[in-house]
């Protein structure tokens, strides 16, 4: 099974979400796509059961990715990187 995380684009810059995913890439596989309001991320274990409930590992990594993206977002905001945030929002996920 996979865990889907929908990050609001007006709260989380795309660059921060992308960096968080890169950090946790060794632990889970990910797919990413954009919608007008969200960065949509799907996390799943490569050898996991797609039909069952999310595994403990998937839930844990999803939470850690969320926290990491939040931390990066706060750091970016505190540095006053509004220009970079706007730029990353238009660029989207890599």
């Amino acid at each position: 099974m996979s865990v889907r995380i929908r990050f609001r684009r007006d709260l989380y810059p795309g660059a921060c979400v992308d960096e968080a995913l890169q950090v946790y890439a060794p632990y889970v596989a990910t797919t990413r796509k954009e919608s007008p309001d969200y960065w949509e991320v799907c996390l799943f274990e490569q050898d996991g059961d797609e039909d069952g409930p999310p595994s403990k590992k998937e839930r844990r990594v999803a939470g850690e990715v969320s926290n990491f993206a939040l931390g990066l977002t706060i750091r970016a905001r505190s540095r006053g990187m509004s220009d970079e945030l706007n730029a990353s929002d238009s660029e989207g996920l890599r």
Binding site: R4, I5, R8, D10, L11, R59, G63, N67, G71, I74
Partner: protein, 164 residues
């Protein structure tokens, strides 16, 4: 994070606080009006909880932000009291962050002035070359009310020899 069924928590406002399952883990969600609490305060309060909880922000409406909190080291069904305590602590921290932010904004000019003086002082005294280049002829500031005038200058007796 996909949110599923939500449930009110006894003793807490049903419209603001709800138990919510987030991708298989039971958590608690607090809805915050952004006209009451600025976004920076919400981010600040969230940051203090990321060591013990998974924090996720969402925006259900344009005027509000929903904060999802899930305990990191909890069983699949954590105790209700633990979640109530968590959301209560978050609300307190949010108040503190909003207040600190307001004080910072109100005292921004003072803080900048003090910082500027400290930095200027740390740069050391000006060199002789810098003093030589300095334009002392320029008036430091306008003083239309004569406040900066010295006592002697302001109340000096007029000389009898001077024509009135």
């Amino acid at each position: 994070m996909s949110a599923h069924a939500s449930q009110a928590v006894g003793g807490l406002p049903a419209g603001l606080v709800q138990l919510q399952e987030l991708h298989g883990a039971q958590g608690i969600a607090l809805e915050i009006q952004t006209e009451l609490f600025p976004l920076d305060a919400i981010f600040g309060a969230s940051f203090t909880f990321i060591d013990r909880a998974f924090v996720f922000l969402d925006r259900p409406k344009e005027t509000s932000v929903r904060v999802h909190l899930t305990l990191k080291n909890a069983a699949s069904a954590p105790e209700l009291n633990a979640l109530r305590s968590l959301v209560g602590e978050f609300a307190n921290e949010l108040m503190a962050c909003a207040f600190r932010l307001r004080i910072t904004e109100e005292n921004r000019a003072t803080l900048e002035s003090i910082t500027m003086q400290a930095i200027a002082g740390a740069m050391g005294p000006p060199t002789l070359d810098e003093l030589e280049d300095f334009d002392f002829s320029e008036e430091p500031f306008e003083d239309p009310l004569g406040i900066a005038m010295s006592w002697e200058e302001k109340y000096a007796k007029k000389s009898k020899e001077e024509p009135s």
